[in-house]
């Protein structure tokens, strides 16, 4: 068997709270520094310490960053799951085992390396607590030697991560070195997996989607941030808090050009955002599904009263206990129509960390231009995992504060009516509290108001408001980010996806092309749909909408948007809680292309 270079996955099976995060981060970054495209996925439980956790590092010379469903290399650090973990490694795979962990007998066609981790630690520290943390560095050293990770890159990654903690740094250095030297003199490399330097990451950055969103929010000029802690959204706010603290406080006076408020719940979180937006601040909140549920009433209020607000939903799986730390795209339909009554919200769909950054800014512009709550739908995979990306560009455009009348503009008007569609785009003008000119004053309430914001229950007034709000959503179509489209003139098959599903799609399209099925591709970036959708669907005979929820929510929305084309639309869904992998998508398309009559039932269930 020839060497396998820069194209495999490593899985580290451990328990949470054991300090393996640092070790895995260092592995990932060292490989990245070798110029090799790499991605990391942390599969973690909703727990602070002691439950099984897996970290997968994928290296791909092709630049694929999606999760793969199988790994070639396993590091066994958790006795609880050892049997299961070992069983998942196929013939030809590599298993690195902490020699104190017992595994079931492993077939001879796997490459097994037993490492005396505890013994190697003995000379390094006598502190039991430290040993538990530092033991992870032993496998970093062993893998580095086995796979050929350049020594200086590991050192550099370690230095970068632990520069501020010199004692920990020295300890970790020694542990890595112990693993390394032991592997060098005791292991006979028999497996084919190797890393070799490439030049594919030189300018890139490594960042989590939530950090990217935080950066975007800061450079977008956010001034009011509210939240209630919830995974996987908290890290967005926490990193935003860090950035704001550093860059938006006067170093002399300590005065802040922002307010960050930990609310008592998500109802209050969105209420504060609406109050702040009404008063003219750039306000946002971030949450996940359970918080979105609590925001329903206020979301509708914001829609009817026409108040800008930005709400991030970093999606996770369903309610309450179970799989709250697993990823999903299951909130799409709920968020789009959130609230009672006839409501419809613009929803931005970032597919990459770069989108998270850009859309965090764009969402403010849209919310203020459209005077309505704008949702940004990220997910756990995008938000909490580390992604490679081009560096982000500084915003060259000024911000768009929308149709806000200042004193001077107001003075020129004979009269002001808050809800009048002056420009025909469905978007009225607003004034802010504090406005001196008394004709700018208005009273804000929910559904019952006429053009001048006077109370009314007249049917004609209500219908006029509703029709204008519908017009406003038509305007939104021309303002939201357009989809990314890749055409293939020879393709009969079109693929549609959104959000983090994108990464599996890139790879699945290559697999399909290799299988003789060229595809056109439309990556949706927002709701409401833009005109591109109809054109794209029109060009293809069969269109597969791929998404990470059970019922094909986006497929439904596409069918509803294009009823005449509904027969063409097929749904591929993945809903295991793990990020979708390319093979699942490819196999589903192949199966349906082979037997077009078969409905794609429960595609994700088996995986």
């Amino acid at each position: 068997m020839g060497p396998v270079i820069n194209d495999f996955s490593i899985q580290v099976a451990t328990v949470n709270g054991s300090g393996s995060q640092t070790a895995n981060g260092i592995l990932l970054r060292a490989i990245f520094q070798m110029g090799i495209p790499v991605s990391g996925k942390n599969l973690f439980p909703s727990n602070i310490a002691g439950l099984p956790t897996w970290f997968t590092i994928r290296v791909s010379r092709h630049g694929y960053l999606a999760r793969r469903s199988a790994s070639e290399i396993l590091v066994v650090m958790n006795p609880e799951t050892a049997a299961e973990d070992v069983a998942a490694i196929g013939p030809g795979g590599v298993i690195v085992v902490n020699d104190q962990i017992r595994t079931p007998p492993i077939p001879g066609d796997r490459f097994v390396y037993h490492v005396p981790m505890a013994k190697l630690l003995e000379p390094i520290t006598t502190d039991v607590r430290l040993r538990k943390l530092v033991i992870n560095m032993i496998y970093v050293g062993v893998l580095a030697e086995l796979l050929g990770i350049a020594e200086d890159e590991v050192e550099r990654a370690l230095d970068a991560q632990l520069a501020k903690k010199p004692i920990a740094l020295a300890l970790n250095h020694r542990a890595v070195r112990a693993g390394w030297e032991w592997a060098k003199s005791n292991l006979e490399k028999r497996d084919p997996f190797r890393l070799e330097r490439m030049d594919a990451t030189a300018r890139s950055i490594l960042i989590e989607g939530n950090t990217a969103a935080a950066l975007g929010a800061m450079f977008g000029g956010v001034t009011v941030v509210t939240w209630y802690p919830i995974t996987p959204s908290s890290s967005l706010i926490e990193s935003l808090g860090g950035f704001l603290e550093q860059h938006r406080r006067d170093p002399r006076t300590g005065e802040a050009s922002y307010a960050m408020i930990q609310a008592e719940d998500e109802i209050s979180g969105i209420g504060m955002v609406l109050g702040a937006g009404w008063a003219g601040a750039r306000a946002m909140t971030s949450t996940s599904g359970p918080g979105i549920s609590l925001m329903a009433e206020f979301a509708g209020y914001g829609y009817f009263a026409e108040i800008p607000a930005v709400i991030w939903d970093v999606q996770r799986i369903g309610p309450s206990t179970g799989l709250p730390t697993r990823t999903s795209q299951g909130d799409l339909a709920f968020v789009h129509g959130l609230s009672h009554g006839d409501t419809k919200h613009p929803v931005l769909l970032p597919a990459s960390v770069a989108d998270c950054y850009a859309f965090a800014m764009k969402a403010f512009d849209l919310a203020e231009r459209l005077q309505t709550p704008v949702f940004v739908l990220s997910d756990l995979d995008l938000g909490m995992n580390v992604w490679m990306s081009e560096p982000f560009a500084y915003p060259e455009e000024p911000w768009d504060r929308g149709k806000v009348l200042g004193e001077e503009e107001l003075a020129k008007l004979r009269k002001f009516e808050r809800y009048r569609d002056v420009d025909g785009d469905g978007i009225p003008y607003r004034t802010l509290p504090g406005t001196k000119d008394a004709k700018g004053v208005y009273f804000t309430r929910g559904s019952g108001h006429d053009e001048a914001a006077r109370y009314t229950e007249r049917p004609a007034d209500y219908v006029a408001t509703m029709d204008r709000l519908a017009r406003k959503l038509e305007t939104a179509r021309t303002l939201v980010p357009p989809p990314a489209i890749e055409q293939d003139e020879s393709a009969e098959v079109g693929l549609i996806a959104f959000g983090s599903t994108r990464w599996a799609m890139i790879e699945a399209r290559d697999q399909l092309r290799a299988a003789g099925i060229p595809t056109g591709y439309l990556l949706l970036k927002a709701l409401p749909f833009t005109a591109h959708l109809a054109a794209f669907v029109g060009r293809h005979r069969r269109v597969y909408v791929v998404e990470q929820n059970r019922d094909g929510q986006m497929a439904d929305l596409v069918r509803r948007e294009l009823p005449g084309e509904a027969a063409k639309i097929r749904s591929i869904t993945h809903y295991t809680g793990l990020p979708v992998d390319a093979r699942s998508v490819t196999d589903a398309v192949l199966a349906m292309e082979g037997a077009p009559a078969q409905p794609p039932l429960a595609q994700g269930a088996a995986r």
């Binding site: 800061m218 860059h247 005065e255 802040a256 960050m260 209050s268 008063a279 560096p391 504090g434 804000t444």
Partner: protein, 352 residues
């Protein structure tokens, strides 16, 4: 409701300038009297209408911001959630004076959580609860402030302990807590003016009879019952900083509370001594009054110097809503440095 004399206050406005739309509440509703009190107090205090924002939840009471200060922006929110709106407005524009109106259902039931947290944060809002012991707008169900033994029109008796919003506010560190009665304008007006001058949450729990659902015999919030049990703690006078009235009281009869803006509250002793600067004293008085079925009214607790929320957040002087792009978008260099950190792995500014 205009003042026939057409007198002008220091803002150059007449009393009529503080009117709002015509009320649509039941004639005789206590809430209307409170509306009148707010108009008069705002006029006397010389409030600048453009510097005021009116906020409310949902209920008959929460409708009233439409009926006063027609020259101020208003926000009639959703049920029980006015405090969060107020918090957002307040941090977005610290120059505004917020007048929030709520009901006992709005505040003591669905909105109890938000109310408590507003008080904890000391968000500057004049928070008026128009308290009638029932849900007026949904037709007379008991609210959580109904007294034990009070009856509904149907004769049903409330057996549950009432929520005392003043006691809760004091417990949570509120710096201005008053109880009053819609029928006692002489007391309500100076309390409102003092509340306008207070920078922090000012809670005014104003007993406000619902003539349609709670004015019958057996209701402890009927006009008759309230008049019978009302036990004012003191006579109140408020002298704003811009009036240089010298107030002469006989020594030992009156207590003066100075506000940070230079205004003064004068509390003239009625019966027993009452110390409005002692939390323990106030809570004890509330408990004793309940046991004696007395309705004590007046300034229950005051601590004018507590730091308001914007100070807690250390906000810049300029309202956040007025900051320019240059003030809120860090320069290019900052992004470049962060990108470099993310490229090399040196810890970025954010918490990792």
């Amino acid at each position: 409701m205009s003042d026939p004399t057409g007198a002008r206050n220091r803002a150059g406005l007449t009393r009529a300038d503080y009117d709002g739309a015509k009320t649509t509440l039941c004639p005789g509703c206590g809430h209307n009297a409170i509306t009148g009190g707010i108009i008069q107090a705002a006029f006397e205090a010389g409030l600048e209408p453009s510097k005021v924002a009116k906020l409310s939840g949902i209920g008959c009471s929460s409708k009233t911001p439409a009926y006063f200060l027609g020259r101020s922006h208003g926000f009639n929110a959703v049920h029980g959630r006015m405090p969060s709106i107020a918090t957002g407005v307040s941090v977005a524009n610290r120059e505004l004076l917020l007048i929030g109106v709520s009901g006992d259902g709005d505040t003591a039931s669905i909105g109890l959580g938000q109310f408590c947290h507003l008080v904890r944060r000391n968000v500057p809002v004049v928070y008026i609860v128009e308290n009638n012991g029932v849900y007026g707008l949904t037709k007379g169900q008991f609210s959580a402030t109904a007294d034990v033994g009070s009856t509904q029109k149907s004769g049903r008796v409330n057996e549950l302990m009432p929520v005392d919003l003043c006691a809760i506010a004091i417990e949570l560190g509120c710096g201005f807590v008053a109880r009053s009665f819609s029928g006692d304008q002489k007391q309500l007006r100076p309390l409102l003016k003092a509340a306008f001058a207070h920078r922090g949450t000012a809670v005014l729990d104003v007993i406000s009879p619902c003539v349609t659902f709670a004015d019958h015999e057996g209701s402890t919030r009927s006009y008759a019952a309230v008049k019978e049990h009302d036990a004012p703690l003191h006579e109140i006078d408020f002298v704003p900083y811009f009036e240089d009235t010298s107030v002469d009281y006989e020594p030992g009869t009156t207590r003066e509370v100075e506000m940070p803006d230079g205004s003064s509250i004068y509390l003239k002793k009625l019966a027993a001594d009452y110390d409005p600067t002692s939390r323990e004293h106030a809570l004890r008085a509330i408990h004793e009054a309940r046991a004696e079925r007395k309705l004590i009214t007046g300034l229950l607790y005051v601590e004018p110097d507590l730091p308001p929320f914007e100070q807690e957040l250390n906000l810049v002087e300029t309202p956040l809503a007025h900051l320019t792009l240059e003030q809120v978008r860090p320069p290019r260099r900052v992004l470049e440095e962060i990108m470099e950190e993310l490229r090399t792995g040196r810890a970025p500014g954010g918490v990792s």
